[in-house]
């Protein structure tokens, strides 16, 4: 007969304060990323280098400088988010850190929020660098409200792609995540008209562009600089919101089921 356990009080699961936990998570996440210059530098500099090449040096190709500035801002935001969140989650899940986290008293949302905020930090840096290069070398002039709107679009654009990143990270391992993100990211930004206007692509691709979330975020950014294709803003927002919720739903299901 075993009577030892019966008198033990039921352990109370005590969680740390949510905001503080988030901030600690965010600090750790940023520290971790900053210690990986091989990730940070390409993520931040590639959009700017691409913009310098296509938007400044080859500016005679016909795409307006402000169009390219907006496009490369969205491109950088999506890249930093998918790689940061998607590959990051996949790695941690593979290393068993996820299981460890479940045993910790921190709120699980803090961990997700920290990754999302870190991606926003990257987006902020990319957009700021592009704004500096665009307004000086690229000759782009926008009213202050235009610059501010571009920042808002890119920062909030992190959310749907963070959801997609979580889904990818929940589905595949670390190495596979890099491959999956690459396979998805590069064709998506290209076929969404973020590098070159869709009018330069065959009709078929232009017609299918709205299946990509990147297209809708791009169109919102292009609206800011007056170069969008004319769709209603609320339709683009809806086309970003629904996939974001669906991706988040499935990611949450996958992550919480193990």
């Amino acid at each position: 007969m075993n009577t030892i356990a019966t008198s033990t009080p039921t352990p109370v699961v005590a969680r740390a304060p949510a905001v503080r936990a988030c901030l600690v998570e965010l600090r750790c996440e940023l520290l971790k990323l900053l210690r990986e210059p091989a990730y940070v530098l390409p993520a931040v500099l590639f959009p700017v280098l691409f913009y310098l090449l296509f938007g400044v040096m080859l500016s005679g190709m016909g795409a307006p400088p402000a169009f390219l500035l907006a496009g490369y801002g969205v491109f950088g935001t999506i890249g930093a988010t998918l790689f940061g969140v998607g590959v990051g989650v996949a790695n941690e899940r593979e290393q068993g850190l996820l299981r460890l986290r479940r045993a910790l008293p921190a709120h699980p949302l803090g961990w997700l929020l920290a990754r999302t905020l870190a991606a926003m930090g990257f987006s902020l840096a990319i957009t700021a660098l592009l704004a500096i290069v665009g307004s000086t070398l690229g000759g782009v002039s926008l009213p202050m409200s235009g610059w501010a709107l571009l920042f808002v679009v890119n920062l909030s654009g992190v959310l749907p792609f963070a959801a997609l990143g979580f889904l990818i990270g929940s589905l595949v391992g670390g190495n596979a995540a890099i491959a999956v993100v690459n396979m998805l990211f590069l064709p998506m930004v290209f076929l969404s008209g973020l590098w070159l206007p869709l009018t330069m692509l065959p009709d078929f691709f232009a017609r299918l562009a709205p299946v990509w979330p990147a297209y809708h975020l791009g169109q919102i950014a292009f609206k800011v600089v007056g170069h969008d294709a004319g769709g209603a803003l609320w339709l683009h927002l809806l086309a970003l919101l629904v996939p974001a919720l669906v991706f988040a739903h499935f990611a949450w299901r996958r992550l919480s089921s193990r």
Partner: protein
Amino acid sequence: MKRWMDAVAAGALVATLVASVLLLSPANGRDSAPATARPPVDGFAIRGARVFDGERDLGIATVVVRDGRIAGVGADLAVPEAMAVVDGQGRTLLPGLIDAHVHAWGDAQRDAARFGVTTAFDMHGMPERAQALRTQRESLAATGQADLWAAGYAVTAPGGHGTQYGFPVPTVEADTDVDAFIGARIDEGADFIKLIVEDLSAYGTARRLPTLSAEQVTAAIAAAHARERLAVVHVSTLEDGRHAIASGADCLVHLFADAEADAAFVTAMRARDAFVVPTLSVLASVAGTGDGAAIADDAHLGGLLTAEQRSSLAARMHGGAPDPGTLARALESVRLLHAAGVDILAGTDAPNPGTAHGASLHGEMALLVRAGLGNAQALAAATALPARRFGLSDRGRIAPGLRADLVLVDGDPLADITATRAIVTVWKNGHPVARDAQVGTSAAALVPAAQTLVGDFDGDAITAPFGSWQPSTDRMAGGNSDVAHELVHNGAQGTTGALRIHGEIRPGFAFPWAGMTFMPGTEPMEPVDMSGREALVFQVRGDGRRYSAMLFSGPTMQGMPSTQTFVAGPEWTEVRLPLADFPGADPALLRAVAFTAGQPAGGFEFFLDQVELR
């Protein structure tokens, strides 16, 4: 429960993707029937040109024009993607030029606009047209004519200068109440008061004309000012100029020919903030220096002159032996006045002998540079300065909100003032101005705007209320394609007939074509001003092939056509192609509209009906 939520989520994702493609596909408008294409963005932008805004050089900048007005000017102004863009690289954009001294009748306003002069000041004429001129210059409608501000009848003495032109002119006699006389001119609609003080004594001839007395000049200027009108004065001697300025004249509309300006005169001009329109063009004609003939010989200007303008430029004012001193003294006076800070305005006195509307203003600017003005100052003398001194607030500069009167020229007049002559395009009220010397005088160009139908194909022959229909194939370019056409019964929407066009596209030319062409002019490929029309609208049915509508336009017949495509399906369908969507086309110089089949090779058949330019 969880499975149920997954199904809803997946369903929502699929529904969103499908709806996105259906609702937001950017290619939808491009490839479906052109009738449903996105409406064109109104207006246009000029990009890459150096912009001289009337006062200063803005460097390379973009200028956006909407609804006949300048909507924006800036180094990197965002241009909406669907907006037509005019390439300004290597070119300079100027405000529409202003000639501050003309006498406008006949085709003057059209002649002026052709050379980039979009506004002029008429210094003596009949006042009956005052209201019409006012309506015209307040309108933003498409026009190939310069706007006019007019003095109406100039103020002169019985038998004096200004009475010799064949129309009765009220004159100031010894006992005339000058104040009431000026009031009558203003009641007639005079925009400003022009006085003529001229007895011919400046020209070394014995003949004398009666003219206004010094007291009458003083009284007339005071009467104009009492009614808040500018008083501008024609003089030809330094003494008359001195008296006019002392009496408070705002402006001398000629420089005197008898002497150089002296220090006292320059000081008086400066002290009273008076300005001067030296009219060096007509003084050069008086001097017999051949400047008018040089304008006619100019490679850029000569081809745009009418026969009348040509003969006027070849003629000479006053005759006699050439006296280059007349021009030299005037140039020196301009130099002194300009150095003292007196405003110098460009004016030609066209169409006097040795001058021509429009063309001579380019010569005037060059003469001003000869007299010591900088290139920018000479350009300002023909743009911002006359607008400011005459109180015209809606023109003379390139700035947001102002009327889109613009001149795009090749090269840089800030480096070489004669570059103003290499005009690429003139816009009046935001519409390109037809620049062929014959445009506006031919019968086809007078097509009433209400006449939109150019082919109903209901009669026994293919006719149009203006212009003509012709078959057209690549054989004229060395190809082998064939076309035939005939009138058939049962047109679109139950009309009697339609035009059947059929044939075969055969390889043998890089861009094979065959079809029918509508030419709006009386002569083949003669340009007609269709800038007021918005779209090519027609009914079509056929074999399901994709066909092209090609617009031939522009200053020469050799220009590449601008093309939009449409599909001819089995049922009659209305196709509407906005003229603004034909890239690079210039409806102000429309030469032909072709409906053609092209690649791939093979037989084709389509039917046209109810073709409209509306």
